[in-house]
Chain length 214, copies 2
DNA sequence: ACGTACTTGTGTCATACCGTCAGCTTATCT
DNA sequence: AGATAAGCTGACGGTATGACACAAGTACGT
């Protein structure tokens, strides 16, 4: 872990790091409770039992603090790797792989919902730091799916003109966006269970080019 | 068209409507140019050559004005209907349908990019007005895909246990999200052309359950 | 225990945005 | 022209921002 520094370059000690961590924690709570646009430095500081000036000692602005939270999510996203890599995609085992991947990614996204939606926006707005983080959250899964498709192509089970990286990207994007917009599916009267079933089917086929074994 | 009213209940005349429209126009420009969080009422008013007080005469706040812009996008989205309904999904015609749908929806999303990403965020944050708008933008396409799958199920060409509405929803979500995050695909070194090819393939199969005819 | 050097937190300030109001100007109708 | 309503703005109290100097707290050697 790199050393934690204050905005003016000093190295933070034990107490400082605690304060910093408390600020981040309160920011995360506020982001979960109200809209991104309405979260202010003053609110965060007040909730953390400190002053705005203290906040600015550790973060140049709110965005920087959110970026930090996003970095935590990226770190946690490493565990998603296991959901996708070293998996078999043949026959019934493939269906299991798809199911676990869909459930795992959806649950992860919903758990980190409040931060990931800000990451999504900032990335869409073209902020490179956030684009990078967003990419990294999805990267493990993307890489795994991508190489799974590549393997199947090598063994001739999937046509070689299928763009592997693009297909893997589209699938991962689909999963993330589906998790991010449960309300839209609600409006369509789609139950979570049915959504997951549909996603599993699409992922299975997207990777293998074959109907999933039930 | 319902009568345009000011916040204090008066009916806006010709000049007032022009001012209102100019404010919306400038707001749209600002949203395209800088981040959602940084767009202020003062900026909008200044760009429109008027005062902040005038802004508040027509909109209770920035969000309300954005909601208005979103409503315009919803109205324009009606044209997407033609990309999906009354289409054949069999054989080569199906591939054409999928291609036009993918291109149409992606282009639409990219054109209205700056507004739709705010709609996305607000919807994800649970704001019902924005959820409704987001749903409506995607609704025509969703309905069309949904009933296309339903038809194929009736004629026995697709298994009846496939959740039609959920599958259509997942596909539409995939298209919208893919359009919204070109940078992520860039990071994966996926070219736009390959992305579209992958999407076409996934949509084709998602609807018909069969490999697309080239 | 005491003093020193460093870290951490706060009060305050200039600036900018928010949202409202009274009142002035401009258009419309008779 | 006069009456009426629409349209616009300057000004204001309130609040958030971000910077700074300084005060309070902490660690450590003697």
């Amino acid at each position: 872990m790199t050393q934690v520094r204050t905005v003016d370059g000093r190295i933070a000690g034990r107490r400082g790091q605690e304060t910093r961590a408390r600020l981040l924690e309160c920011l995360a709570e506020l982001l979960a409770a109200r809209s991104y646009r309405d979260v202010t430095v003053i609110d965060v500081a007040r909730d953390a039992g400190t002053s705005p000036a203290t906040f600015y000692q550790y973060f140049p602005d709110i965005e920087a603090a959110i970026l930090e939270l996003a970095a935590d999510v990226v770190r946690e996203a490493a565990e998603l790797k296991e959901l996708a890599s070293e998996r078999s995609w043949a026959g019934r085992a493939g269906t299991v792989s798809a199911t676990e991947l869909v459930n795992g990614l959806m649950d992860f996204w919903q758990e980190h919902d409040s931060i990931l939606r800000v990451v999504d926006l900032a990335a869409a707005e073209g902020d490179k730091r956030f684009t990078k983080h967003r990419m990294r959250v999805l990267d493990a899964v993307h890489k795994a799916l991508s190489s799974a498709i590549g393997e199947l192509q090598k063994s001739g089970k999937v046509e070689s003109d299928v763009p592997a990286a693009a297909t893997a990207g589209a699938l991962v994007t689909m999963l993330a966006a589906s998790a991010a917009h449960p309300k839209t599916f609600e409006s369509w009267a789609v139950k979570d269970k049915d959504l997951r079933a549909a996603l599993i089917r699409l992922v299975s086929w997207g990777v293998t080019g074959k109907k999933p074994t039930p």
